[in-house]
């Protein structure tokens, strides 16, 4: 079975007074991995469950390829889903778990066990076939869950925060494996997470959600460099929020006049949004415009956190070379290295 593309059109879903999804639109191309990113409670899981058919929708349409599947029951949808945790059947062995989808599709026993072994090799657990799931670590369980979701070659792969219950190191390794597998199998994939680093590192495109609405969907680079809204700007990557005055489309930050890049209705008191790497810290001979609070050495780069004399906390990210002189308490001059700036209401 080859992968297909996925389209959600004007999907809405309410739970009592809570609107979990509000006219939600999404298109995922064939073989593409799209991450849905947003804070907890913004409707990511609801979107995924509606795609899987595990949740009903109030209005709108879900289509796979050309076909409207809004009314198709979950067990006839041919989508593989990986849950947050604890979704493996504890009464079945690892290989029986992986083969479950094939068994439901009436595949003969020897071929489904063969396929099961193939998948277990793909996820790096070839020798665990006969074990029971409570004998596996959390990371291994999620690998098995992934194998199970892929075993029957689903048209769409759905992952609902599959890594959030795991340790940091396992999380990073497994997300890269998921990506590697997804590319080699070419499966259309929706990956739900609240971890922006996770979303940015493995996706073709990332959709940022807030309150049941898709704020922006784009490649990680575009999201980071050209956020469409202040919410996206704040949610993706680290962002400095520096209070300033907007006049004639210009903002003065640390003595430099910057062009406000997005024309909005904002005037007067605003906050300027600046990435840490656009801020340069220089040692000052006199008072300077800020003082160093802390310096964290991150390897090639260092994060230097300063406080301006007005009290604003500003983070800078610089090449580590020569940042050793920025000890806490040092007077420094902050400078902005870009000419345009995004602004938001103060």
């Amino acid at each position: 079975m080859t992968s297909k593309d996925l389209t959600l059109t004007n999907v809405s879903r309410r739970f009592g007074t809570v609107t979990a999804l509000d006219n939600f639109n999404l298109h995922v191309g064939v073989g593409e991995l799209v991450a849905l990113l947003g804070p907890s409670g913004c409707g990511k899981t609801t979107a995924l469950r509606i795609i899987a058919g595990l949740e009903s929708l109030d209005s709108g349409k879900v289509a796979v390829g050309e076909k409207d599947i809004s009314k198709v029951p979950a067990h006839k949808r041919n989508m593989g889903m990986v849950f947050q945790a604890y979704s493996l059947f504890p009464n079945l062995t690892v290989e029986e778990n992986v083969a479950f989808g094939l068994q439901m599709r009436k595949v003969a026993k020897h071929s489904r066990l063969k396929r099961s072994q193939e998948l277990l090799e793909l996820v790096g657990l070839p020798s665990h076939a006969k074990r029971f799931t409570h004998q596996l670590s959390g990371g291994q369980q999620q690998r098995v869950a992934l194998a199970r979701a892929l075993a029957f070659s689903p048209e769409i792969l759905l992952l609902d925060e599959p890594l959030s219950a795991l340790d940091a190191q396992v999380r990073v390794n497994l997300r890269e494996e998921i990506r590697r597998l997804q590319i080699s199998l070419g499966t259309t994939t929706v990956f739900v997470t609240h971890d922006q680093e996770e979303a940015m590192s493995i996706s073709d495109r990332v959709g940022v959600m807030s309150n049941g609405v898709l704020e922006q969907i784009d490649t990680p680079d575009v999201l980071y460099n050209e956020p469409a809204t202040a919410f996206v700007a704040n949610f993706v990557g680290v962002m400095n929020r520096i209070p300033a005055n907007l006049a004639d489309g210009k903002v003065n930050i640390f003595g430099k006049n910057l062009v406000a890049s997005k024309k909005g209705s904002e005037t007067g008191k605003i906050v300027a949004l600046l990435r840490p790497e656009t801020i340069l810290v220089k040692k000052s001979e006199n008072q300077g415009n800020a003082k160093v609070l802390t310096r964290s050495f991150l390897g090639a780069s260092s994060a230097i956190i300063c406080q301006t004399h007005e009290g604003t906390i500003v983070q800078s990210l610089m090449a580590s070379l020569n940042t050793g002189e920025f000890q806490p308490g040092t007077s420094v001059d902050l400078e902005v290295t870009v000419n345009e700036v995004m602004v938001a209401n103060g």
Binding site: M79, S87, F100, R105
Partner: protein, 292 residues
Amino acid sequence: MEGAPLERSAFRFFKFKSVLPALPFLIIFSFFFIYPISKLIYVSFMSNENNFTFGNYQTAFTEPYSTGFINSIKIAFFSALITAFPGAIAAYFIETRGPSKVRRSLAMMGGVLANTGGVPLAFMFTAAIGMQGTLTKVLKYFGFDIYAGTFSLGTFTGILIVYLYFQLPLMIIVFSPAITSLRREWVEAARNLGASQLNYWLRVGLPLLFPSFIASFLLLFASGFSAYATANALTVGNVPLTPLQIGGLLDGNVSAAQLNLGKSLSVVMILISAIAVIPYLIIQRKAARWQR
């Protein structure tokens, strides 16, 4: 010269200290439980003249005591069998669909019915379906005379009916945790993988519930097998049940040639009860592995 004994006593003191906090419990438990049960077993092998004998056990398997065991096993088995399925199904609907207040108050009520039972239950049923009972009259009014045949509360059937009244709540209480431990993720994963509702139950739901169901059945069996109060209040020694026979021997109501017959009957009861309770405990322990 002094080194060795000192060291040894220090070592002993250390060992002693490492069990000291558990000592009050161990002493009381040993005195009030281990000791009486051990003595019971010991005395069950004593003749009237305090010589070792198997005689008490030989008598235990003759009439009327063998019938007592058979009846007790029968009443335990049937009262468990009749209530196990309805109880399991009720537990399922209550746990999966009941609002939390309903679940909690039913658990409370079940606890009261399953445990407070005993004698009050017997009198309640006398008032309901005794010869002059209200329900008896109501049923008679509708043309259904339960006393037309040989029925009476003091018979095997009568006792069985009353037992159902505490066995069903017990089943619901004991089986509910198994239902709660079925995760929503399992149904959803199964659906997602292409399983129909039926396939989910056949391949996942029922296999997961089955051990707990058997365990609950065994516990019900043990509960029905050991019950004394209800049967004692309902009968006048006319239905041979082992607990009643032991009670009679203990009270000296029944003249027995062998003074220690009650002890051997008790030990056999313990063995039969253990055959049900120990597998129950083992299954529960195993099921706990995924009942997080």
